[in-house]
Symmetry: C2
Subunit: 167 residues, 2 copies
DNA sequence: TATTGTTATACTCTATAACTATA
DNA sequence: TATAGTTATAGAGTATAACAATA
């Protein structure tokens, strides 16, 4: 009866994508940590840097997190001096989140972290493999309606103590 | 000063892997849900089904979760009648986790969920792209020391209410 | 003394609901 | 009445520390 098969999912794309994606998110969180940035803070900072002032609600929608959680996130960035709140003139209920000069500098440092990470991830691939991986991932991302940017689930990826790994 | 560049990371492999991986883990959790299985339960069940009886400590090590958390997980599986605890004869501190007949049936149903998910993930790819994606992911997984199987971070991926998505 | 399973506690992140001020 | 921001509360999930039984 009990067929002890040798892990039927080792070559599964679903498992490979989940596992490699999770490890990637973990590495991303690790390279961001020395800058004092969480992945969510990275998302807000680079979003504002790239697309200009936005209300907290707009940022929350764009990043896929709830506006309730955006409050503390903006508090954190404001406390670090990277952004500031400014009352929106046409809608006085809303705050525009404005990048400061220090915030712009931090956004540049944060974005500069990405290319080395990409290189590290693709270190074992041939240039042709690297290109085809990028292309295939872009196709899958579009097919699955995955928005480019920082995602709510990504925010979960924190460095893991992980005392496990086969004793 | 503030250079409003158009999202410099849209083509980044790190972002593509993180985002597609997270979405994949979410889809995985969703197809498991109708079976009454969480991703961690899937991990324990298929691990025991594939590799035979193991102690809770061995399972915890193999799946990368803490033995403290394994207690409740085994409680859950035992409550569902899929596994049972049996005192290890040579080490009476430990329990061997044994698959029941119902557990074996559930493990087969759980494993059967993977191929359709793989097909769905690769639906937009050509066969050649599908193959090269699998190959590249395997290479990266090996390079990053990602073990095949269920990972602790994967367990995080739960269906998200996500009322966001651009309002 | 070290290890297995267990329980308890604290901390983080998130989900939900409410409140205020504006629209 | 609806929405932006805020706050509070409760629920998951996990990390840490302890404990009893056994090695």
């Amino acid at each position: 009866m009990s067929s002890t098969a040798p892990t039927p999912y080792a070559g599964s794309i679903a498992f490979l994508l989940s596992a490699v994606g999770a490890r990637t998110a973990q590495l991303f969180a690790q390279v961001l940590e020395p800058l004092g940035l969480t992945t969510r803070a990275f998302g807000v900072l680079t979003n504002v840097a790239a697309h200009g002032p936005q209300t907290q609600q707009e940022l929350a929608d764009g990043l896929g997190i709830h506006r309730n959680n955006m409050v503390g996130l903006v508090d954190e960035l404001e406390g670090a001096g990277w952004v500031r709140r400014r009352r929106n003139q046409s809608d006085r209920r809303a705050f525009d989140i404005i990048l400061t000069a220090r915030g712009a500098a931090m956004a540049r440092r944060a974005n500069a972290v990405i290319p080395p990470l990409d290189q590290r991830l693709a270190a074992a691939l041939t240039p042709a493999q690297h290109r085809s991986l990028s292309a295939a991932l872009s196709v899958v991302a579009a097919d699955l309606d995955v928005q480019p940017g920082v995602h709510p689930w990504l925010a979960r990826a924190r460095p893991n103590h992980a005392g496990a790994q086969r004793s």
